[in-house]
């Protein structure tokens, strides 16, 4: 099943929207400045609607089925968050309005800063970063600036465990620092000996994901953060996995100095097909002066409470226009207010329960490189005994035939044929059972009829796609309109 392109259903003269005539006199247009042609499609409103509805039907989404994409926390996106975020008192505010005209929005942002501070233990919060990776860059620039501010300008290395997400090393380079990779030990923790070897007065700090990307809580995390601090470095926490920690522990209490939140993971804001998300950053009191701003503060010397903007004194500078992805922040705020402290803890508990339960159902069939109690996700190897040429990718593609979105594939890199599975707390036991049954059935199929897996998926709108062709200079086509 394929859908024609907008350009292919376009017909000269069709309109998808009618606009009014000007209510003022027409001014002459400046000759020599104008364009000749504007090659946009011309479609009727109904054709437009059908086109996008058809496209939507080609997607798997949380709303259509189970989406255990590890590291992404594909939980249910509550509808009330959408309704609230669409209120005109939020969507129809100009970011440059004077603060006294936007107190409603400022109250929401201020309280969200407070909530995130309470959940994480960090007194300084900036809501400005737009996504996790954006928060990472913010955090690493803060660490760099804080150390340079102390005169330690020789520090130019960030330590990154070998299990880290690709954004961690990429962020390091973008921040002008060098990556040194730290090995993991046999239990899936940071290898303390490897860490000690690389700690020196060259080190800005360590970027650590905890629970890590194996879904494991680092059993020596306090020792890890202590060692980094002892060497004069700072510890960055990649908060992608905070869903397992809500009300379980505060990252600041583990010795982290900076952390980003992933509101589109932990706090139920929709992933949008790849964004927008939000990646607020939390820091210790000592680092708060380096945060990007503006952030919302209470104005002193006012009679009634009044909120306004403030740019921290030694700020690294703004990381985007204005204050952050406000519409996303409204959703996360609503989510936290709906759940409260107890609800958030239940989120973490049930996320971890669901993951351990699912693991218990497939343990023994799919190799488990680190056999420990997992947190909100776990990583197995997509290798099946008796089916030597079946790969993780084949298993993933075959899962589509059972109506499931595959797990994350080939990440983390330290697990061969990794399948990273994150069920989230919003899934029922029935769904987990059905998914486990499918994985078990696929293991059988792999032994009996490996071709069934190699040729999967069979029931999707399209079969496997030729990715090489899409990137090859001779065949690459990146848009419809130009020779490209």
């Amino acid at each position: 099943m394929t859908e024609p392109l907008l350009y292919e259903i376009s017909s000269p003269g069709r309109r998808g929207c009618r606009l009014p005539q000007p209510d003022v006199q027409r001014e002459e247009l400046p000759a020599g400045f104008l364009r000749d042609d504007l090659p946009l499609p011309e479609v009727s409103e109904m054709d437009l609607v059908r086109h996008y509805v058809h496209l939507s039907q080609l997607n798997h989404a949380v709303d259509t089925g189970f989406y255990p994409l590890g590291s992404c926390t594909m939980k249910y996106n509550p509808r009330v968050n959408e309704a609230i975020s669409h209120l005109p008192g939020f969507t129809q505010l100009h970011p440059l309005q004077p603060p006294d005209t936007v107190q409603g929005a400022l109250v929401l942002l201020y309280e969200l800063q407070e909530f995130l501070g309470e959940i994480s233990g960090f007194p300084g919060i900036s809501l400005q970063p737009a996504a996790g990776a954006h928060g990472e860059m913010t955090g690493v620039l803060i660490m760099r600036k804080a150390l340079y501010d102390r005169g330690e300008t020789q520090r130019n290395v960030i330590l990154v465990p070998d299990s880290a997400h690709g954004t961690n090393p990429a962020t390091t380079t973008m921040s002008g620092l060098k990556v040194v990779q730290i090995a993991s030990d046999a239990a899936g923790n940071v290898d303390l000996d490897a860490l000690r070897v690389h700690l020196s007065d060259q080190v800005v700090g360590l970027m650590l994901t905890n629970p890590n990307t194996l879904g494991l809580f680092d059993e020596q995390v306090l020792e890890v953060t202590r060692l980094v601090h002892e060497a004069g470095g700072l510890v960055y926490g990649d908060g992608a996995n905070l869903n397992a920690m809500l009300g379980i522990c505060k990252p600041a209490d583990l010795g982290f100095d900076v952390m980003h939140f992933n509101l589109h993971k932990t706090f139920g804001t929709p992933h949008g097909g790849g964004g927008p998300g939000a990646g607020p950053v939390g820091v210790t009191a000592e680092l708060a002066t380096f945060l990007p701003g503006p952030i919302v503060v209470e104005q002193e010397d006012e009679e009634s409470p009044f909120l306004t903007w403030h740019v921290p004194e030694k700020s690294i500078g703004p990381v985007k226009s204005f204050y952050g992805n406000f519409g996303v922040l409204v959703r996360a705020y609503t989510y936290i207010r709906m759940l409260g402290a107890e609800g958030l803890r239940r989120v973490a508990e049930n996320a971890v329960l669901n993951a351990n339960y699912l693991l218990s159902r497939i343990r023994g069939v799919y190799p488990l490189p680190y056999d420990r109690t997992c947190m909100h996700e776990f990583v197995v190897e997509g290798r099946i005994e008796g089916a030597p040429d079946v790969r993780a990718l084949d298993i993933s593609k075959r899962l589509m035939d059972y109506g499931f979105h595959p797990p994350t594939n080939y990440f983390p890199l330290i697990v061969p044929e990794a399948l990273m599975i994150e069920p989230t707390e919003t899934e029922s036991k029935e769904t987990l059972d059905a998914f486990a049954e499918a994985l078990l059935k696929i293991a059988e199929e792999a032994r009996e009829d490996p071709e069934l897996l190699h040729n999967a998926p069979h029931t999707t709108p399209l079969g496997r796609l030729d990715e090489v062709r899409a990137s090859h200079p001779k065949t690459m086509r990146l848009c419809y309109t130009q020779e490209c």
């Binding site: 437009l48 505010l93 936007v102 990776a133 009300g247 209490d253 204050y323 218990s360 990146l478």
Partner: protein
């Protein structure tokens, strides 16, 4: 608990299958001294309560439905047809994630491909990516792209002083560790000729905005002259553009731009207190391997049917890690979807019509204001939807008066960014401003007018 379907019976069965007694037992790896902190958060609310409370909170602010808005400066109020929100609110779009698995993500992938195609059409470029966080970060990434195209040997980027102040600030934040210097924007008199003169063999790129932050337009001819000078130094020309203006004015691809970026919010995304927006990014095909972010390409499936996939991913962080062109992962996909639906709904003629409405109304407003004693429209360049009014009274006080007495957001106080222009008010007029409201603005300004006479604001 909301959103958690497990019942007590489910939990008991699951714990038994795992082989532990209590959920708490699953957290034995968490150091005991920090385990299970009390969180001080407001009590949970039902949906009924939260709807009531947040409706009230939202009404505390003065929204643009209840005030006349002539404020732009990087965030714009444009008409959004109903189909945009209706279509992007389909759960199949907004509850999916990055289309890593193309067989079950063709909807998102094709929509991005179409968005890329329309951005190329608009800008006159040959390739576009799937979006950046906003216009400012797209500018920053353009600097980095140019730096990489120059093999990191060219260590200078030249910025127009009339490039949006936030874009310049964000570009500085992004590049602070890279050993790049950003120059040219410290002197307001640096026009395109002066920027061309600054360009040398150490320059990675020159960045100008057209129309610029003050609303002024540069002709294709003078832009081409700049492009030739920039290319003569072996550098790239980056143009930041208002996408609505491109419905009417020559695309940067026509006058030598190598990279075209901008704030995509005006394309079907609400003003939303500053976000979420999207940065669009388009370039010549020869630079595409240095670009940041997701790019969708066309291909075929096993049966030869057309389909779409994420292309050129060897540039990206999940493959290249520390050697990636950027760290960007999640972008602003749903905002780009909105932009795509918007562009398709407007189509070839609609977008031009929107641009013309802005142009005519802005010129009407400028002409009327120019008639008032004490006011002057700055400069004599053609402009699009924004223009600078030099005012007879302190701008901050005037704005306060307009808001308090007339319920008008009168514009942006330029002195905040340009001390030399402290009598400058940046006024924005779009298709959303009726003649009636424009006349009201003029009337209000008239009341304040005259060089320090009558209507003095207190």
């Amino acid at each position: 608990m909301p959103y958690i379907p497990n019942t007590d019976a489910d939990r008991a069965a699951m714990l038994a299958a795992i082989g532990v007694e209590r959920i708490e037992d699953l957290f034995h790896d968490v150091p005991e001294e920090v385990r299970f902190p009390m969180l001080e958060l407001p009590d949970p609310l039902s949906e009924l309560e939260i709807q009531q409370e947040l409706l009230m909170l939202s009404e505390v602010s003065i929204d643009l439905n209840h005030t006349a808005c002539f404020l732009g400066a990087g965030a714009y109020r444009h008409f959004i047809p109903s189909v945009v929100d209706q279509l992007i609110s389909r759960g199949e779009f907004y509850t999916a994630y990055t289309p890593y698995q193309p067989e079950i993500s063709q909807g998102t992938l094709q929509a991005i491909f179409e968005y890329q195609s329309m951005i190329c059409a608009l800008t006159g470029m040959e390739a576009a990516n799937a979006s950046h966080y906003d216009g400012a970060t797209a500018v920053a990434e353009a600097v980095i792209t140019a730096f990489n195209v120059g093999r990191r040997k060219r260590k200078k980027a030249i910025l127009s002083p009339m490039l949006h102040p936030q874009y310049r600030a964000v570009a500085r934040t992004y590049t602070q560790g890279m050993g790049l210097t950003l120059i040219g924007d410290d002197d307001l008199s640096n026009g395109v000729d002066a920027l061309a003169a600054l360009c040398d063999g150490d320059t990675a790129c020159v960045i100008v905005q057209n129309p610029d932050f003050l609303g002024q337009l540069y002709s294709p001819a003078e832009m081409q002259t700049l492009a030739d000078a920039v290319h003569g130094c072996g550098a790239l020309l980056v143009v930041a553009a208002d996408p609505i203006s491109l419905g009417l004015f020559a695309p940067p691809g026509d006058y030598g731009a190598d990279i075209v970026v901008g704030e995509g919010q005006p394309l079907g995304n609400p003003i939303s207190f500053g976000g979420p927006y999207l940065g669009f990014f388009a370039c010549r095909k020869r630079y595409v391997r240095s670009v940041a972010g997701r790019i969708v390409g066309e291909t075929v499936d096993t049966q030869g049917r057309r389909g779409f996939v994420l292309a050129l991913s060897t540039r990206e962080q999940h493959i290249r890690r520390e050697k990636a062109s950027s760290n960007i992962c999640t972008n602003q996909a749903l905002c780009a979807l909105a932009a795509g639906v918007y562009l398709a709904a407007m189509g070839k003629r609609g977008l031009r019509q929107v641009a013309e409405l802005c142009y005519h109304k802005a010129h009407y407003a400028a002409a009327e204001i120019a008639k008032l004693p004490g006011y002057e429209i700055m400069g004599d360049r053609p402009f699009f939807k924004e223009f600078v009014v030099r005012c007879p009274q302190p701008v901050d006080k005037m704005l306060r008066y307009l808001l308090d007495d007339w319920a008008i957001l009168g514009g942006y106080e330029l002195g905040r960014d340009y001390p030399e222009l402290d009598d400058g008010l940046l006024v924005c007029v779009t298709e959303m401003n009726s003649r009636e409201k424009i006349d009201e603005l003029v009337e209000a300004l008239a009341e304040l007018g005259g060089p320090r006479q009558g209507g003095e604001v207190s």
